[in-house]
């Protein structure tokens, strides 16, 4: 449990948010040409990093907007928050 600084609403309790998993997984541009291995990679395989990870979050019980977060999963410390479409901060 921690506080999240929503880029639209400001600091709110984590309960208001929904975690959306790993960020920057690009949707295949040509889905019809994807092999089974590439589909598995896109749909299922995850980095699941212990340490600094890039994630998507949704302010589900607030503005309902999606945004990105850089978070250390070993101690739940939030390193950075940035809007969808913005460039991820350099690590």
């Amino acid at each position: 449990m921690f506080l999240i600084n929503c880029p639209y609403c400001g600091e709110r309790d984590q309960q208001e948010f929904k975690a959306g998993g790993e960020a920057h997984i690009e949707r295949p541009k040509q889905p019809t040409e994807l092999s089974d291995d590439e589909w598995a990679e896109y749909l299922f395989m995850r980095k699941n990093i212990k340490g600094v990870q890039f994630e998507r979050w949704n302010h589900a019980h607030g503005c309902r907007k999606w945004f990105n977060m850089v978070r250390d999963t070993s101690n739940d410390e939030i390193k950075a928050i940035y809007k969808m479409g913005e460039k991820p901060p350099a690590q």
Binding site: M1, Q14, Q15, K18, A19, G21, D36, D37, W39, A40, E41, L43, F44, M45, R46, K47, N48, I49, K50, Q53, E55, R71, T73, S74, N75, D76
Partner: protein, 417 residues
Amino acid sequence: MRNKYSVFSLIKNALSYHENWQRAWKDPAPKKEYDAVIVGGGGHGLATAYYLAKKHNMNNIAVVEKGWIGGGNTGRNTTIIRSNYLWDASAGLYDHALKIWEGLSQELNYNVMFSQRGVMNLAHNLQDVRDLKRRTHANRLNGIDAVYLSTEEVKKFCPIINTSPDIRYPVLGGTLQRRAGTARHDAVAWGYARGADAMGVDIIQNCEVKGIKRNGDSVEGIETTKGFIKTKKIGVVAAGHSSVIANMAGLRLPLESKPLQALVSEPVKPIIDTVVMSNAVHAYVSQSDKGELVIGAGTDDYVSYTQKGSHQIVEGTLNAILELYPIFSRMRMLRQWGGIVDICPDASPILSKTSIKGLYFNCGWGTGGFKATPGSGDLFAHTIANDEPHKLNAAFNLNRFVSGDLVDEHGAAAVAH
């Protein structure tokens, strides 16, 4: 020579004030090379080593554990054992484990306190009723004992449940697996450790894996905090940290690691003599032999390795417990903790070879791995020794995420994941 535990050894050791018990396992330094190394000294890892030595004559093997054995999820779960899964593949896997549990204390000469007190799953809405009836039929077709109970039968089996029709989520019925129950989780790790050690397995604690050395498409050994260990076969049984090990080997896994919480109350006199689980309101409760209520909560929805978990998850579970069991309203909770569970997209485990020769993974047990400990160890040992899966774990291969042949227990299982 390993001394046998018996009433006579108890009397003999009582005479010397219990000061001369033989060590249950040694504390060896790692050798330079092993035939196989198991990464992770929890129940599943120790069971794997035990069956490798016992059934496959692989005695020159080691278990490496970064902390102490049984200190991870083996010591953090709510000790529930059952096999009432919906799909055939899962039923085969979990009932294989349940059958081993039934004779495990005798086999290990170590009392794992397996108690077949029954597990009851409650239905709170019409869809639950339909799902639980369907699962009961599926279980019986697979030879797994299961009965469907009416609300009155639920009340009779566990009288402290509030079956009043005017609660928020009324009890409309339930299922009961009488062969299911609980076991002492620490004893399972210790019993397997003692058994494996007696057959020559080295159990190396405080030994963290730092890297996996590959030569092309096969493994050569592991880098650890106690030096390099050469081996041709590595069985990874690292639960929540499976992805960490996989990343060292350059392997991708379909896992997400999340905190799962549990808590226990102050000890009280016997009040609940079975295990009651409710999927819809997410409340599990049983009572330990010490008298504590053992309560399982849910997972957080974000990836975290903190072994903590959020307060509102516990609060939600306790709300549900209090509505179902008003008698517990003044109980005080003693301890709360979290464990990191590795969850697969289909909520079924992976017991599999990988694309790297000599590297095997046993992971993805998510929120319900304890029940499978003996079966998981047995089947994973078979997979490592023969370089081929046993027919009972063939469906739980890593390739199912490529082929699409998932074992979708998400929502089909008796509990929410």
